[in-house]
């Protein structure tokens, strides 16, 4: 790759990667589009550059590095733990800034010591930023989906509701809409009286049979994705969930939790206090949270400049725990963003569960911050 196009501090980045035991890898600029759309959803479609091969395969210009680096790891069939680093161009349709820009980052795959690996990712991101932005006052915001999951679970909601809330975590509008439904349950409308009667009588087998017959008659069964059993089971669950009402106190607790925002150093005490006052057992999630904090402190991180925001998450199903972002004080431009994505590797086709944590650096924003400092 011609160094001439690289950011002027590319050498510093590469030196940092080497010092931090991350092996630099490259990936093709032209990537199959499927994995990106599959993982991030259709929302990505209008933000990437799509094209087609002669044979009709959907291709795109690399919109980010995490998925290509993970796919490369899976294809290379090497073992874990591995630490990969990247530095190269990515391509996205953006309203602000150029459509092609550099990203760099580290992906840490297969380190089973979760708390230490999380702390190391944060330390790496901050350490590298400090080297290239020595005069900038950096601010880190951290969230943890596992803590939210623990709160939801401790409130004793049915599994279906837990799944809905966890799925919406990070999308405040969606989450608010769900809380509204929990506060004011609506009866299920539009159900055929025959079906209602079957459900009321608990005749799930009869319903499955009836669905199966209708599917056969309408010729829909040949290619049906959802089976009669799946539809009947979800109908039953839906009727049960529609009757779930979260009482006022629990709802207040959940809302109170989501408004928590405080210095990271104070977060364990605040979470413990919240759990005590609410009478909730948050268990492992909070232990892991505290262990991560301890690892950060041991590594000499300045925890006082870090903020914990309970509602901070990413509404994608492969993120599982830690998320973090680094900005310059007084700015909202994210200079580095990262998190734990323990579900991504298996979603991409890895045979075994591979825990993973990583971050990427927004090089163009770092360049702008360097120019200002």
């Amino acid at each position: 790759m011609p160094m001439i196009d690289m950011p002027e501090f590319a050498g510093d980045l590469l030196a940092e990667f080497a010092e931090r035991d991350a092996e630099r890898v490259n990936t093709p600029v032209i990537q199959p589009a499927e994995p990106f759309l599959d993982m991030a959803g259709e929302d990505l479609r209008r933000r990437i550059f799509l094209t087609e091969s002669e044979t009709g395969e959907s291709l795109c210009l690399r919109p980010e590095f995490t998925i290509p680096v993970c796919l490369r790891h899976i294809a290379s069939a090497t073992g874990t733990p591995r630490r990969y680093a990247y530095l190269g161009e990515v391509f996205r349709q953006r309203r602000d800034g150029s459509n092609e820009f550099y990203q760099a980052g580290i992906e840490d795959l297969g380190d089973k010591a979760t708390a230490a690996a999380d702390a190391r990712a944060i330390g790496d991101a901050l350490g590298i930023l400090k080297r290239v932005l020595p005069k900038v006052d950096l601010r880190l915001t951290l969230g943890d989906q596992a803590v939210f999951e623990a709160v939801v679970k401790a409130l004793g909601l049915p599994h279906g509701w837990q799944r809905r809330l966890i799925h919406a975590f990070g999308d405040m509008a969606h989450l608010e809409a769900l809380l509204e439904r929990l506060a004011r349950p609506q009866p299920v409308a539009g159900l055929d009286p025959d079906i209602s009667a079957m459900m009321a009588a608990g005749d799930e087998a009869g319903l499955v049979e009836r669905l199966d017959r209708t599917m056969q008659e309408t010729g829909y069964s040949t290619n049906a994705s959802r089976s009669p059993a799946e539809i009947a089971k979800r109908l039953k669950e839906k009727l049960e969930l529609s009757q779930t009402r979260l009482d006022g106190t629990a709802l207040l607790l959940l809302r109170e939790f989501l408004t928590l925002q405080l210095p990271l150093a104070d977060a364990p005490a605040a979470l413990a206090g919240f759990a005590d006052a609410a009478g909730l057992k948050l268990g492992d999630a909070v232990s892991l949270f505290s262990a991560r904090l301890q690892s950060l402190a041991n590594a000499g991180a300045d925890i006082s400049a870090m903020t914990y925001r309970a509602a901070f998450g990413r509404p994608l199903d492969y993120y599982t725990g830690l998320v973090f972002e680094v900005t310059a004080a007084g700015s909202t431009a994210v200079l580095a963003g990262g998190g734990r994505f323990d579900r991504l590797m298996t979603l991409l086709g890895a045979r075994e569960h591979i825990p993973a944590v990583g971050f990427s650096l927004w090089i163009d924003r770092i360049e702008a911050a360097r120019a200002r400092q």
């Binding site: 539009g190 290619n223 979603l347």
Partner: protein, 232 residues
């Protein structure tokens, strides 16, 4: 004086009904050359030209600012133009060409009546079926705005469908569809039902203006809009 171009549908009922609206509005169209010509003029207003184009081309030409006005379905304009309201003005709804863009799922999905239900199904789909929920549609922009922005549903895949979309679920090309319907009879014939909150857009033929600065000082622009509005 700049020429003003009005793009009108080149065929079918929408062409006839548009001609009727313009006639009632006192904007009578004369063909240039012969009757089958794709160019026309408006008698009585100087420098106003008619270009007959296909309905989807009209949306594209409005987006490019290549024409000043167009008559076409709101669905095509909203689908074709990102940031649509900054680029065009919907001047008048013409009362014909009614079609709703809707989310329709197999009738047999008794457990799915609302978008929230669909969100639940989409969230679990990959775990159960090894792939994301698939939506057949030609309206990928409208679908994406409705699912992602309005209902917080991210995890689904669009399968582009350029025709006979209603058949896609039975054929196994997709699980559900987003398509236009006017009476719902084609959907019912294909054992599909519209979700109770699944109407994305109530579309009809509209007089649409491409927003251009030169229009501000051109009296013919407001003359045309007023004439069409007054005829409705």
């Amino acid at each position: 004086m700049n020429a003003i171009t009005i793009a009108l549908p080149s065929k079918g009922r929408i062409k006839e009904e548009t001609a009727a609206v313009f006639e009632r509005a006192g904007l009578s169209i004369s063909a240039v050359g012969n009757d089958r010509s794709y160019r026309g003029r408006i008698a009585g207003i100087e420098g106003v030209e008619i270009a007959y184009l296909s309905a989807s081309e009209i949306a594209r030409e409005l987006a490019a600012g290549a024409v000043d006005f167009g008559v076409t379905g709101e669905d095509l304009v909203r689908e074709g133009l990102p940031g649509v309201d900054a680029k065009v003005e919907f001047c008048a709804r013409l009362g014909f060409g009614h079609a709703d863009v809707v989310v329709a799922v197999p009738e047999i999905w008794l457990d799915v009546e609302t978008m929230a239900d669909l969100g639940d199904v989409a969230a679990d789909f990959r775990a159960r079926h090894g792939r994301r929920l698939q939506i057949a549609t030609k309206y990928w922009r409208l679908t994406q705005q409705f699912f992602s922005a309005k209902h917080g549903i991210q995890l689904y895949r669009i399968v582009e469908s350029l025709g006979a979309t209603e058949g896609a679920p039975a054929a196994g090309q997709a699980d559900i569809i987003v398509d236009i319907t006017s009476t719902g009879s084609t959907l019912r014939a294909n054992h599909l039902k519209v979700l109770s909150d699944g109407v994305i857009l109530k579309s009809e033929a509209c007089l649409v203006r491409a927003r251009k600065p030169v229009h501000d000082e051109d009296g013919r622009i407001s003359q045309i809009i007023e004439a069409v509005r007054a005829s409705l």
